[in-house]
């Protein structure tokens, strides 16, 4: 009910302000199509890599290697690949997250944890480099460590909320 209600409320409000709502929807929809077009090639390459990593046993080896640290933090070891790639590449994280949800099921604990991680974190290194490069800032000082602490907190919190927060 929340989502259709939100759609109605915003559309009605916009209509009340004399906005051509349907035209806005179509223009925006076209932007969505462009977004898909833009991410498709990246997703093809990265899902290929994800599949290769899994078939070769590399994912499993990595998971086993880092599992103790993950368990200590309360993060499900299966989501480790996502945790590692998330700050580096947005499309790779999307690919890994989609794979986790497909393999374990979107409503499983692993699938939900992956979704919450994806929804509540960002591509940290990309964001920092874009913002600072555009402004000509060379010394980033403590921006990277602070952002990474935020990411780590997000991953741990995602594991907790997926497990304990009623949906």
């Amino acid at each position: 009910m929340l989502i259709p209600g939100l759609l109605l409320a915003v559309s009605a409000l916009a209509l009340g302000r004399r906005v051509d709502v349907y035209d806005a929807l179509l223009t925006g929809g076209k932007r969505g199509l462009e977004l898909v077009k833009a991410i498709l090639p990246a997703l093809v390459m990265l899902l290929t890599a994800v599949e290769l990593l899994r078939a070769s046993g590399a994912t499993e080896a990595l998971t086993r290697l880092l599992a103790p640290a993950a368990v200590w933090l309360g993060i499900p070891p299966e989501t480790l690949a996502l945790v590692l790639i998330r700050p580096l590449s947005g499309s790779a994280a999307l690919a890994v997250g989609a794979d986790l949800m497909a393999v374990h099921g979107p409503d499983s604990l692993i699938g939900r944890t992956a979704a919450i991680m994806l929804g509540s974190t960002e591509t940290t290194f990309y964001t920092i480099s874009v913002y600072f490069a555009a402004a000509g800032v060379k010394k980033t000082r403590y921006a990277i460590p602070a952002a990474l602490i935020a990411d780590l907190t997000g991953f741990v919190a995602a594991s907790l909320t997926a497990r304990y927060l009623p949906s």
């Binding site: 925006g28 498709l40 990265l46 290929t48 590399a58 960002e122 920092i128 555009a134 060379k138 995602a158």
Partner: protein, 205 residues
């Protein structure tokens, strides 16, 4: 990205040789095919939500929320607050992030950082720039539409039921990031902006 790609391939090949059993050629084709299936099933909801985003933008709801947030943000950014254009870009950036308008958020954020840099005239990040970047990397989003679209396309019973968890998680991670930034600021002392820092502390209280 290119390094990451080569590393992933090399690691797969190495592990594949070690195990010897997997058919990696088949896996590569599978992965590529899955990406297209995923994109096709994502397209519908992505278009819908991009349309919704456009309505939010045109109706002035985004601008309204941005005005609403400005006083709160002013407390976090006492130096930026002195310049109206910086503050406008800054609260526009935060609002766009909140509403999930990623493509609108980035240019506004860059504009804000540029103006902050012009104000400070230094090539080192100011405390407020670090704060802004942390807020952006920690991603505070009210409607994580891409993830919901992904869940929907994979057959989740209720794609949006992760919302409360995403909100709590984002809030925790942003708070941790800002606290960490504050801690680092106190420890580092910062190159040559001792004065603005003292003012900042006063502004924070």
């Amino acid at each position: 990205m290119s390094y990451l790609w080569v590393c992933m391939l090399a690691l797969s090949l190495f592990c594949g040789l070690l195990h010897g059993s997997a058919d990696l050629g088949r896996a590569a084709m599978d992965g590529a095919g899955k990406a297209v299936t995923l994109c096709v099933s994502l397209t519908g909801s992505l278009c819908l939500w991009s349309g919704f985003a456009a309505v939010l933008e045109r109706s002035g709801l985004q601008a309204g929320l941005s005005r609403l947030l400005a006083p709160v943000l002013g407390r976090l950014y006492p130096t930026a607050r002195r310049d109206e254009a910086t503050m406008g870009a800054l609260s526009g950036n935060v609002t766009a992030n909140l509403l999930g308008l990623g493509s609108a958020a980035t240019p506004l954020g860059i504009e804000a950082v540029r103006r902050m840099q012009a104000q400070s005239g230094s090539d080192a990040a100011s405390d407020e720039m670090c704060r802004l970047v942390v807020m952006n990397t920690a991603s505070i989003q009210l409607l994580p539409t891409t993830v919901a679209a992904l869940r929907g396309s994979l057959g989740a019973a209720s794609p949006f039921d992760i919302l409360p968890a995403v909100w709590v998680t984002s809030l925790l991670s942003v708070s941790a990031g800002l606290l960490a930034a504050d801690l680092f600021r106190r420890v580092s002392g910062g190159p040559g902006d001792g004065r603005s820092k003292r003012e900042e502390v006063r502004g924070m209280n």
